[in-house]
Symmetry: C2
Subunit: 379 residues, 2 copies
Amino acid sequence: MGSSGNGSFDPSASRGGASASVDKGVDFANYFCTYGYLYHQKEMLADRVRMDAYFNAVFQNKHHFQGKVVLDVGTGSGILAIWCAQAGARKVYAVEATKMADHARELVRGNNVDDIVEVIEGSIEDVTLPEKVDVIISEWMGYFLLRESMFDSVICARDRWLKPDGVMYPSHARMWIAPIRSGLGDQKMNDFESAMRDWHCFVEDTENNYGVNMNILTKPFQEEHEKYYLKTSLWSNLHPDQLIGTAAVIKEIDCLTASVDEIRVVTSKFSLPINMDRTRLSALAGWFDVHFRGNKQNPAKNEIELTTAPSVENSTHWGQQVFMLHPVLRVNEGDELLISFSMHRSKENHRLMNVGLSYELQQSSGKRLPAVISKLYIE
Amino acid sequence: MGSSGNGSFDPSASRGGASASVDKGVDFANYFCTYGYLYHQKEMLADRVRMDAYFNAVFQNKHHFQGKVVLDVGTGSGILAIWCAQAGARKVYAVEATKMADHARELVRGNNVDDIVEVIEGSIEDVTLPEKVDVIISEWMGYFLLRESMFDSVICARDRWLKPDGVMYPSHARMWIAPIRSGLGDQKMNDFESAMRDWHCFVEDTENNYGVNMNILTKPFQEEHEKYYLKTSLWSNLHPDQLIGTAAVIKEIDCLTASVDEIRVVTSKFSLPINMDRTRLSALAGWFDVHFRGNKQNPAKNEIELTTAPSVENSTHWGQQVFMLHPVLRVNEGDELLISFSMHRSKENHRLMNVGLSYELQQSSGKRLPAVISKLYIE
């Protein structure tokens, strides 16, 4: 057989785990295992935008932490928990599902806050704390905010363990979409066409050399490859110059009140005005921001924003998700893209997303191009 | 968080699944899912060495198939089953654990052998056939033969369903090891050292910018990276010129009689004579071959060999597994490497392997260098 550990073709699409009843072993094999590596932790810890935002959020708002009890959901290497202790927390519960908990415990000890920070290995859903907490801090955001579906665990923690007047860190989150120009789509189309040409040769060779007609698999092969090359969003760190219109907020989340039902499906109708003349609209880009504002009774002294928008100086490891549009549209300033967007979780793996997109170009001349409907994937 | 689907760092090491009691869902998420992709099937189907061997084995030994009942274990796209039907089998049971079974069924129909080939979706361990079979055919070989542990399923099929005088396709298998020269080890050592330099900068930055001392994680970070860069075998298609000594067979398997106990652990003591002067012994290469010989009562008319040894013209998708030796040894013609080798299954994932290696260089001068002991991984 020869199944490669590091295939170039991402098998994540058929990773197991279902939304309704998630098999914990499968979910661990598919998802949590990644977070058990220091390599991966370091990638997140070396993201200056991410680090600065949380660091400033905590140390510029010490009043939220001094003498308080904090819960860190998914502490990883434990750095947020350590900061909370350094900012004056009386007690920090740092919960981590992977073996990274052992490293977190070491790090806590090495930084002399082991009298304050208690690292607990386990799923937040299974953990019992001896008390309610004043603050929940968590870095739960996946690509395009909701990939990974980790906010579910934060909601669970909040409903079980946050005091009525407690504070969420971050307190708010938003999802953004913008029209962009990019060569990525052309490149992927070339890759796709090349894979199909290769397939046709393969079919011919197999018939000639081995007497088996493979042609009946051409359609499923094409579908598999269309999904992989053309319909799966791409990670990218875009240059702001690639934006060709105004970005729109398609979802706002109040972390203090949001329910799982509210985030399980995201739907939005919105329009994206084009502000560049004679250019190509080749994709939509999706990203997110979160804010640290405290709550109404107990607001932040210094509100902090963490944004993953396209940026030259402040790019993040999240980058942006690029949803390719095929075919590319020729657009002009004054045109408007009318979009109906929906995102729901993949049935096969609740941590991955399926996106439904329907869009029409309203030209400044008044002409409206026919609607295009497409189904895309965030894997 | 931002967990990438396509990380550059292979998380397979902590994929679940245990030898004693394998969680089927976890095993599917980790292993079988790969085989659900036509992309991956095509990679195997386009391997001419592999295809020619099975094709010739079947069609040059039609007497094993004419009027006979055949079981294909892990049929994938179904090609071996179709060949068996074309070679005159009366009935072929083609068992496949993944959704690839649907495609196999289509392919069988498209090649007009659906009256003979019955595709059954399921694990071979769970399948009940209405009769015993004359032949079991299977392409079960993983990297260095036993990675994937799929031969277990073939043994299970054989013990349950093969008639006493039945034939195994292939009938025999061997594992080989040879001394080689290669730049791969230097390259990986550079990667490792660069990762460690980067880590030390990171530790300094994190202390300066965020007041947290990460140094306590330096040792586990180093261990994690040593394993990944230096102790994990590499896939490679070696040039025969890279061989600097005589290859040794370290394991022979008779597919008709082998038990799971016999393959669960592989141990061998052997020596590798060096036949090149003033060169570097930088790694050992492991590969396998299999033979199609029929059985004693009913031998093959034409014995076929499938070898994955280093070759310019006949390389395979299996390539060779390269086990790096650190430090590299300077060797000369007439030297001999005395090796004690053991391989057993990873506790975390029974489809991956841990290798124990102890080696001493016996120089032609009579001097023997101190033994080196190392633990390596096939992931």
